[in-house]
């Protein structure tokens, strides 16, 4: 008897999905909080967090749902836990959308993986920049100040992209 087609097997797939999503939420949070790259540029120390890395990996390895969940819950949780509470609802929507879109493009668009994934990261980058711009327009009530966070947002996503692109294929293979 093949367990893949049994009801216990179906339950197992579901349980596994829950656990994978949960761990990617945690990974996104931990990477945002603790895994940083110091860039030898910029005055403020140039600390770039790597929270976008698990998010993209989730999207490329497990698809849009896991990508969306890891991003939305993981990063919003970071906001909640580290004093950026009021940003949390915006993050939930914006980063969730990033994960979803990246996963969707990676799943649906045909072509060479590396090109498709680059496209997916570019799309996510657009969502992040535009999303946070408008979120901060609401918070700061002006149109100029939000431009300040654009370079940081761009850099974070680009660096995460540079890390994830060469790894996605390998991790997919390891994850089975």
């Amino acid at each position: 008897m093949d367990s893949t087609f049994s009801s216990a097997g179906a339950a197992r797939t579901k349980t596994r999905a829950i656990v994978i999503n949960a761990l990617f939420i945690t990974l996104t949070l931990v990477a945002t909080m603790f895994i940083n790259i110091k860039l030898p540029i910029m005055g403020n120390g140039g600390l770039i967090h790597l929270g976008n890395v698990p998010l993209f990996i989730a999207a490329f390895v497990y698809g849009k749902k896991t990508g969306a969940i890891a991003g939305a819950f993981g990063m919003a949780l970071f906001d909640l836990l580290s004093g950026w509470t009021i940003w949390a609802p915006f993050t939930f929507v914006i980063v969730g959308a990033m994960g979803f879109t990246a996963g969707l493009i990676s799943e649906k668009v045909p072509g060479k993986r590396i090109i498709v994934n680059t496209l997916a990261i570019a799309a996510a980058l657009a969502i992040k920049v535009v999303g946070y711009y408008f979120a901060e327009v609401i918070l700061y009530a002006n149109w100029i100040q939000p431009f300040g966070s654009v370079p940081g947002n761009v850099l974070q996503v680009v660096i995460a992209g540079l890390i994830v692109l060469p790894l996605a294929g390998r991790l997919k293979k390891i994850a089975g």
Binding site: A11, R16, I18, I25, V30, G83, A141, Q145, L167
Partner: protein
């Protein structure tokens, strides 16, 4: 604050919307007084609240200045070269900064008085009606609770792997950008590999313990909605009404 997490969530959510109603001195004053009363009632150590402000204090100051210089309304207060400060700008700047401050205070009240797991429980319960719309509320709540449980575990693991690679000569903090980006690979891959393995083992353990989805499950943690929870929401409604009345 010994309110039911659901009451807190609804209250904070409502409050955040209500804050945007204020638009003159009276309504902002009212909001500020209410917020101070909440802070007092929550018996939270004000020092924690102020400590939480640290990362955003410059943002608030910057917002204030920006509004001062950008708004050209009311009487001209003073002029220095091309900088012109108007009375309307000061008012606008003060209002927006205050709004910002209040939002941060109230939302951090939630995170300071409520554990993430209670927030999850509260959200699960509040979102129950959405189950009918096929929103997997139970699954999402379980995901949140598992992910919270694994935060310290994965932090520990990150630290261990980082040290193990440093012992093998990895360098996470020097060299050109390209090198630094490459340096995180020996950290990330083991971290993900171990997460895959954990997920597999945890899923097996959960099934062995009879987990088969949300159907027919009972809950160990119960939420108790009490009189004071209803009272809190009534206060919020009253506040909203007052604001509506005082706004110009």
């Amino acid at each position: 604050h010994r309110l039911d997490p659901r009451a807190k969530l609804l209250f904070i959510f409502g409050f955040v919307i209500v804050v945007f109603l204020a638009n003159n001195a009276l309504s902002y004053g009212l909001l500020a007084v209410f917020t101070l009363v909440f802070i007092y009632l929550s018996k939270i150590n004000v020092r924690f609240l102020l400590a939480g402000l640290k990362p955003v204090i410059w943002l608030i100051a910057f917002t204030f200045l920006l509004h001062i210089f950008l708004t050209r309304e009311g009487d001209l207060l003073f002029e220095a070269g091309f900088l012109k400060v108007y009375e309307g700008g000061v008012r606008q700047g003060a209002f927006i900064s205050l709004r910002f401050l209040l939002l941060i205070f109230v939302t951090s009240l939630l995170t300071l008085t409520t554990s993430p797991i209670s927030i999850t429980d509260g959200l699960e319960s509040l979102l129950k009606p959405f189950k009918k719309l096929k929103l997997p509320v139970h699954e999402l709540a379980l995901m949140m609770s598992i992910s919270l449980r694994f935060i310290p575990t994965l932090m520990d693991e990150t630290d261990k792997i980082m040290k193990a690679q440093m012992a093998r000569g990895a360098d996470f903090s020097s060299g050109p950008i390209k090198e630094r980006v490459k340096a995180v690979v020996p950290l990330l891959i083991p971290l993900f590999v171990s997460a895959f393995k954990r997920a597999e083992e945890l899923a097996v353990a959960m099934e062995a313990r009879g987990y088969k989805g949300g159907e027919g499950r009972t809950k160990y943690r119960l939420l108790h909605w009490q009189g004071r929870d209803t009272a809190a929401l009534i206060i919020l409604v009253v506040l909203a009404a007052l604001l509506w009345w005082t706004r110009s």
